[in-house]
C-alpha cells in the first residue's frame, strides 16, 4: 500500500504543473485512491505480482485519466452501490468507494480486455489561465 503515497504525490505534482484547482485535485486524488486501493486489494487474490498503469491527458476543458491493470476483471460502472443510510443500526460499514468515484468523477467508462481492465475517468475542468491572462 506504500504505492498510495507515490500516487498522492503524483496527483499533487500533476495539479501544480497543470494549474488545477485544489477542489479538482482533491476529486482526482479521491477517485484514484479508491480505485487503486480496490485493484490492490481485490485485483490479485492469488498474490501474483501485477502491473497497474495510470495515464493522464489534458484536453481543452476536461481531464482524462486512464487506469489499466492486469488483475481480476471488475466493472465499477456495473456495480450498484447500496442506498444512503437512514440509521446507524442499518448502515453498512463498507462499500462506499465506488459511490464516491461515481459522485466525484464526471464520467466513468470501463473496458474489459484479455489483459484485464481499462478504466477511464473524465473530470470537467475549465481551461487554466494563461500567464498573459493572469498578468492582465
Amino acid at each position: 500500500m506504500e504505492q498510495l503515497r507515490d500516487l498522492e504525490h503524483w496527483v499533487a505534482q500533476l495539479g501544480a504543473e497543470q494549474l488545477l484547482s485544489p477542489v479538482l485535485v482533491h476529486h482526482i486524488d479521491l477517485c484514484l485512491t479508491e480505485l487503486v486501493s480496490n485493484v490492490i486489494h481485490y485485483g490479485y487474490p492469488d498474490g501474483k505480482p501485477g502491473t497497474l498503469r495510470i495515464r493522464f491527458r489534458r484536453e481543452p476543458e476536461r481531464i482524462v485519466i486512464c487506469i489499466e491493470d492486469d488483475g481480476t476483471p471488475f466493472d465499477p460502472t456495473a456495480y450498484v452501490p447500496a442506498g444512503l443510510p437512514t440509521s446507524l443500526a442499518d448502515a453498512d460499514t463498507g462499500g462506499r468507494g465506488i459511490r464516491l468515484v461515481r459522485h466525484f468523477a464526471d464520467e466513468l467508462y470501463h473496458l474489459a480486455s484479455a489483459a484485464g481492465n481499462q478504466l477511464t475517468l473524465v473530470f470537467r475542468s475549465p481551461r487554466p489561465a494563461r500567464a498573459a491572462d493572469r498578468g492582465a
Partner: protein, 114 residues
Amino acid sequence: MEMAVHELESGILGIDLSGRMDIVGTQQIDLKFSVLTSTRRAQILVDLSNVTFIASIGIRTLIVSAKAQKLRGGSMVLYKPNDQVEEVLRATGIQAIIPIAHDLDAARGVFGAA
C-alpha cells in the same frame, strides 16, 4: 495519521485525528481508535479539523466505532471537518447517521439529545 485523546468538559471524550485518512493512515490509528471508542460508554467528539483527506476506508472506521458506541448507549459527533472532508462525508450520507458539528454548542446539543 496521528491521534490525541483528552477529556473535554461534562465528561465528553475528545479524540483529535490528524493527517490523511486513507488506507495507510487509517491503519495507523484504527486499532487504538476502535478500542477507545468501543470499550466503554461515552460521548465522543471526534475532531476532524486536522484531517486533510478521507477515503471510504476512513469512513468505515468512523461508522464501525459509532455503531459500537451506540450499542453501549453512547454517541459520537464528528467535529469541524474541513470543506473537502465534509464534502466526502456528505456524499456518502454520513451526516444522517453520525452528526456533524462545527461548534461546541452544537455538539453539546447533540450529546444532550442523545
